[in-house]
Amino acid sequence: MKRQSQHNYFTSYGVRHLQAGLNSLGQLSRAPFTTLITCIVIGVTLALPMALFILLKNVDVLSQKLQQSTQMTLYLKAETTKAQAQAVVQQLQENALIKEAHAISPDEGLTELQHQAGVTNMLVELQNNPLPWAIAIQPTRKAQSSQALAELGNTLKQIPAVEATQLDSLWVERLCALITLSHRLVYAFTFFLSLTVLLIVNNCIRAATQFHQKEIDIIKLIGGTRAFIRRPFLYAGMVYGILGGIIAWQLVDLLLLWLQNPINHLISLYNDTFELIGLNVTETLYLLLISVVLGWIGSWFAVTRYLQSRRI
């Protein structure tokens, strides 16, 4: 008997929610233009931080790619012979933090230097080749962090044949710091724009409560609870939110589609390829969930404030 009564309660509760939801959809569909404009405004507001988020996500991937190409160069002592250099290479290849190591002879080094400097015959000026044997090292992924690289550099300096180490990672570190800063800026931007969405929904629902003032007063007069009055407005807020979220998602997808070709062209100039990354399923669901929650909170505040202001 008790179970039956509980079942009836939940059925009735579900039916009331369904009615409130359908009622909200009905109200919004009766003013399609206003609803559409509101959803577009919400969508554009949400699309801005989402676009920045995706931009950072792609920059993150690019910077990881760049970090993976970080190289360390070991300059050996001037008197080092080819055999000694080969022995150091062999020693380095046994190190778990080193993915690849190869020796660069003084001649190879000079050729590269001439190529970089745009000079054809440097030896005429210099008399003899001053460059020592060098070893180019590609660290493993595990050793890519700046701290790990510094530690690796210090370890390699202990090898007797090594004169100096050179790590070309400062610009990568700067890029990482810039990305971290940008992440924070995007979070702040997202917070303020979320607040904007909240205020947009709040404003729309406040207008709706004014429009339904008589209906609300009657419902209060005949025993309607605040929850009952609030319910259809909360659903309306959630509908605004989810439609705004869908619009934001589509706008971001369109933006990616629009940017893919110029980015392909740009990357191809560096003899590389890069596929722009959009929102994945989890991120899309998060976007929609956040939109719904913002719609819900915005409408909750609007209706609560309205109900507190009415005497009935």
């Binding site: 009735s12 509760y13 008589k214 007063d217 005949i222 025993g223 609870t225 605040r226 005497r311």
Partner: protein
Amino acid sequence: MIELHRVSKHYPNGYLALDDVTVCIKTGEFIFLTGHSGAGKSTLLKIFAAIEPVSSGDIIVAKHNLRKITSRRVPYLRRQIGIILQTPNLLMDKSVFDNVALPLVIAGYSYKEISSRARAVLAKVSLGKKENCYPYELSGGEQQRIAIARAIINKPSLLLADEPTGNLDPELANEIMCLFEQFNQLGMTIVIASHDLDLVNRFGHRQLILEKGKLIEASVTA
């Protein structure tokens, strides 16, 4: 059903609407609240329905102490009270059936129960054939009957009516008063505010007479 002890009501502008009113209305009573316009009849009804708070004094309605009632409990008190105002206060974009069924929808009844009770109550106020009409399609008297049907559908123990026949012709007013008599015979406590002394005297129930916020006489006319 209703107990007032030294109740006064000041509006924020300083106007004294009720002045030291003490009265007791028993369960099943039929009361006429009379007096001139501005005497405090509507204020007293609003206080009974917890629409207006009292400034001082104690008031108990349907076992709820209105001085201590929280805003969360007010809707549950109002479900025990049927309220009819001078203007019917109907939702013009909803059908007669939906208007009448609204208190049951709010209370969470099943559709089956709502449907059967709404049809029964519409038949009682002779609007059974107009359940699919909209209020704006009906006359003033019919609209007032919708408001009455909505007020009684929840089987309230107390019915408050503020000038319910104010906008109706005498024949229709008489018809509606007869309806109230029927509800009273079923055990409902009824309080009607009216300044139409002919109508009040014709039905011969206990009268509470208000003048400038003071309860000056409580009499029974035959």
